[in-house]
Amino acid sequence: MSNLLHFSEHALQEVALILMATVYFLRIRWFMKWPLGKERQPATGLGDTNPKKGARYSLANIAMPWAMESTRSKPFMYAQFVVFHLGVVAAITLSFIIPYGPGLLKSSSLVALIQGLTGTACIVGFMRIIRRISNPYIRAISSPDDHFSLILLTSWFAFAFLAAPNDISGGEGFMLTYFLLTAFFLMYVPFSKISHYLYYPFTRTYLGRSFGRRGVFPIRRKPAYQRSI
């Protein structure tokens, strides 16, 4: 292994991780400085829900495609979302396995799993790029950051797919690119929309607490009363 690859796998990743954590810390600190809107009203609704239940439902929404009309009516989009995010988990996990637990990759099934996830995520990434460019609604709301983040992730998936076997016998090119991209990704994420997951627990909890207090979450689609009178 060349010094450059060793540096990219270790020192560079560590620096990138520290930078990411620092910016995340600053972001959260900035976010928490905004005053929290207080809700004083007594609860509304049938009384079978509350802020905690609403928040739990709201946070779990993402794993309940039936809960929202937008995901219920677009199962293919939802499947893409799942694959894409599993790809992120796989590609990140790989960046820790290669330097700190390379022995794990002797398991061909683990390599196949990582390649399966990053490979399909890469395909989804391509589909999303096409959608972002060709769908007039998505194009109209897209920023340069949206386009760049998507291209960055899609390329990263491709190189994660190639790096997964951890085999440099044919050259270090793929491996080096994968680690350089990972480091760049870690440093870029806190400044980009990819950091949305940082806000997700907050936005969903706040909405869920408010809607739980008001009896809106969990959303009802069936009668909650008996026509008995």
Partner: protein
């Protein structure tokens, strides 16, 4: 020195400065978390009614507000403005354009909110943006007019106290005649009552029948209630124009009056935004914890039937009915089941509309849209979605628990020639009341009294 501030109009600078004072953490979360995934796009009735036009998409509209936040309050926008589509406003014309979006292209219905995987609540920061513009006098004329009436006269239709009392007294006479009881009352300012009943000024101006219907129900239930002579308007234009001070003042008037009268419970007549404002948002705006119970009259009527205080006969309401959920009731207050339960008790043929409850489409008159004449054509165009929903039920009458929705639905039903009627639960419950025995008894009682008094006169 040609600084950034110098390039900006006075009003534009005010809008930007005030934004910083109005942002809450919940709003900042919504302004930061959008990933531009587009999942909310076709949850909006404006989008569905204007296919191919992305400027109606919730995220597109949100970005017109978000860009200001990014440019002035989020450091990613300060460092890389173009990269994250941050931007500012410089001229009054740009503020006018923003006005056409926040007032004219969104009814704050929150349908996109419940469909956003990230929990972005556009309606809340759209309301904030409305408030920023109103603060510098940029708003639709109707909004300005109504807000002024509510600030100055105390209700949003400019009803004078004497007109209010006269109308209530007129309905009292009607009640006496319908119930054959010359002593029947619609009490005003009666202290220590069980219920303080507040209404929408539309009931005084255009729909006094609703006051009579409510009075009949209270009479039949033997309720100890009163209507207040002031602080009787439960509607609140502060919800629509984003002015928390107005919202707090209007809700505060109602709360103060209930406390002054030592009422045990505040009952709010059927109105989506009125219920949301008085029951939910009012304490936040007025910064006051309310010390009495408060509920929608829908719940009161339902309880009367359940407790046997009134009897109803659903055969008195023949025909087919569907129910339209007001956005404010359903998506902001969770009032979805009680109106259905009540409706099923007073009509024989109730057919559900789809989608419904918190997924229902706006009547398109929400968010104060009925007072913005300049946007009527685009409002009615967007109403096609609601019109299709109504037509698909195959019913003759749509029931709703909101005066605003009554107007919105009536307008679109006329425009799309659906030939349907619009009514409220209070009208159906009053019509279904089994009161013949009470009326007969009253007839006898007062006939006897008359005989006695004419006998003693002889």
């Amino acid at each position: 020195m040609n600084t950034e501030k110098n390039k900006r109009s006075y009003k534009a600078q005010k809008v930007i400065d005030r934004m910083g004072q109005k942002l809450t953490r919940q709003m900042v979360g919504s302004l930061t978390a959008c990933v531009h995934c587009g999942m909310c796009t076709d949850s909006c009735h404006y989008v569905l009614a204007n296919p191919g036009d992305p400027t109606f998409a919730p995220a597109y509209k949100a970005d017109k507000i978000r860009k200001l936040f990014k440019q002035h309050y989020d450091w990613t926008g300060k460092v890389f403005p173009k990269w994250v589509k941050a931007g500012s406003v410089y001229t009054d014309e740009e503020l006018q354009e923003l006005k056409d979006i926040v007032f004219g292209k969104c009814t704050n219905c929150r349908r996109c909110t419940v469909n956003c995987p990230m929990g972005v609540d556009l309606a809340t920061f759209n309301r904030m943006a409305r408030g920023l513009l109103c603060h510098v006098g940029i708003m639709p004329e109707g909004v300005e007019y109504v807000a002024k009436e509510q600030w100055e006269i105390g209700n949003q239709m400019g009803v004078l106290k004497e007109d209010y009392i006269e109308t209530v007294e007129w309905q009292e006479e009607e009640l006496q005649s319908e119930m054959e009881d010359p002593t029947a009352k619609i009490p005003i300012d009666k202290p220590d009552s069980n219920i303080v009943y507040v209404i929408n000024p539309r009931e005084i101006k255009h729909d006094p029948r609703s006051i009579l219907d409510a009075a009949k129900i209270f009479y039949a239930a033997g309720e100890d209630y009163t209507m207040p002579s002031e602080g009787w308007d439960m509607t609140n234009f502060g919800l629509f124009n984003g002015d928390d001070e107005l919202g707090g003042a209007v809700a505060g008037r109602v709360y103060d009056k209930v406390e002054e009268l030592r009422g045990k419970k505040l009952v709010i007549s059927e109105c989506g935004h009125g219920y949301r404002s008085t029951r939910c948002e009012g304490p936040n705006w007025a910064k006051k914890d309310i010390t009495f119970d408060a509920e929608s009259s829908v719940i009161t009527m339902l309880e009367y039937i359940k407790q046997g205080k009134i009897k109803v006969d659903k055969t008195k309401n023949p025909g087919s009915y569907t129910f339209h959920d007001s956005c404010n009731n359903a998506r902001s207050c969770g009032l979805t089941e009680e109106p259905r339960e009540l409706l099923s008790l007073v009509v024989e043929d109730f057919r559900e509309m789809y989608p419904n409850r918190a997924e229902n489409y706006c009547c398109t008159g929400g968010g104060g849209a009925m007072s913005m004449a300049e946007y009527r054509p685009s409002r009615l165009k967007s109403a096609k979605i609601k019109a299709d929903q109504l037509a698909a039920t195959g019913t003759k009458t749509v029931v709703t628990s909101c005066h605003n929705c009554v107007d919105g639905l009536t307008d679109l039903i006329g425009h799309y020639k659906l030939g349907m009627d619009v009514t409220q639960l209070v009208n159906l419950v009053a019509n279904a009341l089994v009161i013949d025995d009470i009326v007969e008894e009253n007839k006898k009682k007062y006939a006897e009294k008359e005989e006695v008094s004419s006998g003693s006169a002889q």
